[in-house]
Symmetry: C2
Subunit: 404 residues, 2 copies
């Protein structure tokens, strides 16, 4: 069994780094506050006797040797957050990994395979798109060169930001992964609603992120007749409202969000010249996600025509739905039940590093409940007992894979 | 007759201050670049022998003595611009005033009444609301104390910004104004469309500016079911689209613009927590403007309910339509025709300092054509001949009022 007090203390200590007034944290990827989080993590890994490796995209790996050199059992997640993040999203998976190591150390338990705790770079995708970037590079889904060239929402090149914080590593991560487990808060309302303690995650829904750059013509808000306008702001608003409407009309599991929208010059009496906005569409069903994307395309064409603006689109991320390894899902579900927890299988609404690891190894996830389903919000919260439950499941499934 | 070459040179020299790459200028009120514009203007006034006075709201007055001390004939406008401004909006009225003074000086013409050239603070309203702020304070429509406490879009207090650039004056403007003339580019398409050289402005349409602060709840874009969202961004988009729709359905002279809209935290995968947006509604008919305002109110209430967000509203500016002095309109129109120009009477779509001066003195405006009706855009342009025509009308109407 893991030590619940020690686990909570781990979460609280990392949560102080980048802490916001009023609660929550802001550790946007590769910013100074995230660097401090990384430094803290590396120190904790070393204190637990792990061999720390930093790879060229800044992923951090802490390895505990096994009896033999074989493929690693990896426990991972991320420590970057959105700007209005909570203490648990990502951090839990990494810190519970450390807690598993501490528990193995305490019990002098030698595993057959090495156990590696991983923290992947820029999982959130809030500062650099796409999300799950570090794990995507790790599994070979995106070249290092391309990744280093990605520009942040604040105009910085990823490669330079990585150098600036000293995390452009020269090590390699584990060469082979026997199994990947990620403990994470659900970030949605299902487990809490159904009073279920542990979620065995079936997979991750498809994710489609698009950036639209709308170009109109700045004009005087008082003197320019409506028929002569090419209002980039109105076009952006109509698209955002249109996304809201078609998502509602599709119903089911379809979600869609315009989370970012920036007008230029953004002044009360100037018709906007340009608008840059993002559209986040998700569905567990690839076919339905494509329907949503087609509706977005039609909407863009309609509005571009009606408002006489040009609209340039750029894909920021596109990941098909991913299914996790059935054997590992079964292991998680069964182990949790043996430990006395109620369980449920469910899909993930959020993207996770596990979906990238699934490309190269059996991968699966353990969810614990999120109070009111709230995440990406400073009031994100998971009960201490739930954190400990999840870490105990993580410990047991790790042992099952790493012991002979 | 004024000297056209010298007038153009005045416009070009001021246009270098705050010049943008690619054309146009950015001299937002009370910024360092606008301070340089003010310094330039004061130096030009002094070179022309004018007595310069700066009042406590930063309005700049350059006075040329008359034979007697009576009320002043004032020629004015503003030198602040929007962020994507042109060289003519505001600047023309002030610089043509200087050109009138230069012409009087050259001809050794002594007027009966003093002639004062005025540049009013923060006419645009782009950085501090309301627009026409300096002239509003000058005529007593807003107390100095209240004006100094206004906070800019970049969070600065007006009083401190005025001190910072050294334009918190201690002088008084003219005690009495005999007549106020403002030469301005039309900023709209009417004169050009109808190939008319001079517009005699009948008045200014009503202006209603509202700022909305929408508060929802930040949430995860992937995991939060649509029915559980309180999406401030979607609410803002629906209101902006709704303004666009009701303005189109009202037709006639109604215009409406959402020029500024800012989401927080403004990230691709976070449902927006807050949105702050502006709504600019205008109509030459006060009754119709009130109809538009009522539609806005209904829209806000509908969307607040449907999206489960709170919406706080704040009036940034509210000015009823203003009629200029019939005798001065007649003078402008008649003088222009005597000079051989085609004329037309028309309403102004933009707000102008003249509408504030109209509260304390007979006031009127001279419009010259704007190419393609474009303004608040770096491609704003007026032909040199039109600039000169306008300045010649300004000279003649000034003489009519200021000579005995
Ligand atoms: N777990 C998580 O919040 N991932 C961020 C990527 C996304 O799903 O938007
Ligand atoms: N003339 C001018 O552009 N005034 C700015 C105030 C406004 O009409 O928005």
């Amino acid at each position: 069994r893991i030590n619940p007090t020690r686990l909570i203390s781990r979460v609280e200590r990392l949560g102080k780094i980048g802490a916001l007034e009023g609660g929550g944290v802001c550790r946007l990827a590769l910013t100074p506050s995230e660097k401090l989080g990384r430094d803290h993590l590396v120190a904790e890994m070393k204190a637990l006797g792990l061999d720390v490796a930093i790879d060229p995209i800044g992923n951090i790996f802490g390895a505990r040797k096994g009896r033999r050199e074989g493929p690693a059992v990896m426990l991972g997640s991320h420590i970057d957050t959105v700007a209005t993040g909570g203490l648990y999203d990502g951090a839990l998976g990494v810190l519970a990994g450390l807690e598993v190591i501490a528990t193995l150390n305490e019990g002098n338990i030698e595993t057959d395979l090495p156990v590696v705790v991983a923290a992947f770079t820029n999982e959130e995708g809030a500062r650099f798109a796409p999300d799950m970037l570090g794990s995507l590079v790790f599994v070979g889904g995106l070249s290092l060169a391309e990744a280093l060239d990605i520009v942040s929402i604040d105009g910085k090149r990823l490669g330079e930001e990585l150098e600036a914080i000293g995390y452009a590593g020269t090590d390699q991560g584990p060469e082979e992964v026997a199994a990947y487990f990620e403990l994470h808060i659900e970030q949605g309302p299902v487990l809490e609603d159904e009073k279920v303690e542990i979620g065995a995650v079936l997979g991750v829904q498809g994710i489609s992120w698009t950036e639209l750059t709308i170009r109109g013509r700045s004009a005087h808000a008082g003197t320019t007749p409506i028929r002569l306008r090419r209002d980039a702001g109105l076009a952006a608003a109509r698209i955002a409202a249109g996304v809201g409407a078609f998502v509602r009309s599709m119903g089911g599991d379809q979600v869609g969000t315009v989370g970012a929208s920036t007008l230029t010059p953004n002044l009360v009496n100037v018709v906007a010249e340009t608008a840059v906005m993002t559209v986040d569409l998700r569905n567990p069903d690839e076919g339905l996600l494509q329907v949503a994307e087609a509706k977005l395309t039609a909407l863009i064409e309609q509005i571009a025509g009606e408002e006489e603006v040009t609209i340039e689109r750029r894909s920021l991320a596109r990941f098909e739905p991913v299914d996790f390894a059935p054997a590992l899902i079964e292991t998680i579900d069964g182990t949790a039940r043996v430990l006395g927890f109620s369980t449920r299988r469910l899909f993930s609404g959020a993207g996770h590093d596990a979906q990238m690891l699934a490309r190269i190894a059996p991968a699966a996830m353990i969810f614990v409940p999120s109070v009111k389903g709230i995440s990406h919000n400073i009031t994100e919260y998971t009960e201490p007992a739930d954190l400990a439950n999840g870490a105990n499941v993580l410990l047991q499934v790790t042992l099952k894979q790493a012991l002979p």
